[in-house]
């Protein structure tokens, strides 16, 4: 087993699809929360195996997409300052701020470096003691412990020229916000497997109970997603609404205690704005007092978020599952991966990017 290819077996996928057809008696609307799952669904054609009664809406689980444009502007400002180095995950480089993206800033001479791990940014800070090294720390609960560990390593090694521009988001408050919205349509959730690898799934139990929605912690391969859909539909057809764990090879109910402990040491829960979506209470992370010195906003000025509801891009509605990428008049016309209006068109987890990449023939037909 290599824990990937076995979950891509076409025959098993068809058998799962048959089993799903066998239990569905009426229309149901589910949402996969994570953009990685959205890409797997479109890439492998999982949605095409499902019976017409089952609709999959694509959720807000793309940290690159929900990072407000002003943070990208701030990152460009820092990278363009004297004696600084801005380190970022590669995913962030094509995400447009209000005045361009980091890739364009880099081509104009701004000091932007792509890192694979947050620890690489600390290593750069150690190698360049005369420069201010700022790591653009974005991510959900999956990535927050790794980002936190960078601050811990820097503190332990006495690296004073290192800080982090932090834009972290938490998934359960976003799910709650979707369910509280008027006209909420989602009847069951596939929860994001890797977020739950870190956090476990206790937080989802009160949500399932309060809103009467099944929540199935689900992995990222085609068979994982088909099983997650099956488990969710089984509950809906039986009139149950509890949290179940499809991704048990990587997720336990209490999550990863070592990772959660590190995350708690460096970060605390804070309000936050989601790009295109708006403010969601207690859905972000700020630095704890012990690590406040690592906050780049203390060194380079605070990021002032703006109201982006009037922006041309409908990414906010796509991220809430209210619209499909192909509902957007700009899709594939004035908005393409080369000239994006919003981040969902360029991120590896963006729903618009998934439709553009995997469904181009039929969506371009529809757009004509």
């Amino acid at each position: 087993m290599n824990f990937r290819d076995e979950y891509r077996d076409a025959d098993a996928a068809r058998r799962f699809a048959n089993a799903i057809r066998g239990i569905v008696t009426r229309p149901w609307t589910l949402m996969e929360v994570c953009g990685g799952q959205t890409h797997a669904i479109l890439r492998f054609g999982v949605d095409r195996l499902l019976p017409p009664e089952v609709s999959l809406l694509h959720g807000p689980g793309c940290p690159v997409c929900v990072t407000p444009a002003e943070y990208i502007d701030k990152a460009i400002e820092i990278a363009s300052s004297r004696n600084t180095i801005l380190c970022s995950f590669g995913d962030m480089l094509r995400a447009p701020g209000t005045k361009g993206d980091l890739f364009a800033a880099k081509s104009r001479g701004a000091n932007v470096r792509i890192v694979y791990s947050p620890l690489d940014a600390v290593t750069i800070a150690q190698a360049e003691p005369d420069r201010d090294v700022v790591f653009f720390a974005i991510g959900f609960e999956t990535t927050a412990p790794a980002n936190a560990m960078a601050a811990i390593h820097a503190k332990q090694s006495g690296v004073n020229n290192f800080s982090m521009l932090s834009s972290h988001a938490l998934v359960p408050p976003a799910i709650r916000s979707l369910l509280e919205a008027p006209g909420a349509r989602v009847q069951g959730f596939l929860a994001a497997g890797h977020v739950c690898t870190v956090m476990g799934y206790r937080e989802y139990e009160p949500i399932a109970e309060r809103f009467g929605v099944p929540i199935v912690v689900t992995g990222f391969e085609p068979l994982d997603i088909l099983q997650g859909v099956y488990m969710c539909l089984r509950q809906l057809e039986d009139g149950r609404a509890v949290v179940e764990n499809q991704y048990s090879r990587a997720v336990r109910r209490d999550g990863n205690e070592a990772a959660r402990r590190v995350m708690r040491e460096v970060f605390q829960v804070a309000p936050r704005r989601w790009r295109g979506v708006g403010d969601i209470p207690e859905s972000g992370l700020s630095f704890t007092e012990a690590y406040a010195d690592f906050d780049a906003e203390r060194r380079f000025g605070a990021v002032m978020t703006r109201d982006d509801a009037a922006d041309l891009c409908i990414a906010g509605q796509v991220l809430r599952g209210d619209r499909k990428p192909t509902d957007c008049p700009a899709f594939g016309k004035s908005c393409t991966p080369e000239r994006p209006l919003g981040v969902t068109m360029v991120s590896n987890e963006g729903a618009c990017a998934a439709y553009y990449r995997y469904r181009s023939l039929e969506t371009m037909d529809a757009a004509q």
């Binding site: 620890l119 099983q227 990587a250």
Partner: protein
């Protein structure tokens, strides 16, 4: 961003729990992965790696459950079909 890739640990170095490293084989590509979040990881284990950190040791018993589940789900469908 939340992508995590499975790989097998070839060897371990270091004793400090915050900096213990594993050389991990991802289908032929070998990278060093921090094991601070996988203190139980041993040589031969498969881990899920995310931005340079192992975030889980894959439970190999649980890993086959999807196929057991499929067999049971498939059986229950054929039973329902066979019902008069």
């Amino acid at each position: 961003m939340c992508l995590a890739v499975p790989g097998r640990i070839l060897s371990l170095t270091g004793d400090d729990p915050l900096t213990r490293l594993g050389r991990v084989d991802f289908g032929g590509i070998v990278k060093e992965i921090n094991l601070a979040f996988a203190p139980q990881a041993r040589v031969g284990d498969h881990v899920l790696a995310h931005v340079g950190f192992a975030i889980a040791v894959i439970d190999e018993t649980e890993a086959t459950r999807v196929f057991d589940y499929l067999r049971d789900a498939g059986d229950s469908v054929s039973e329902e079909r066979d019902r008069p």
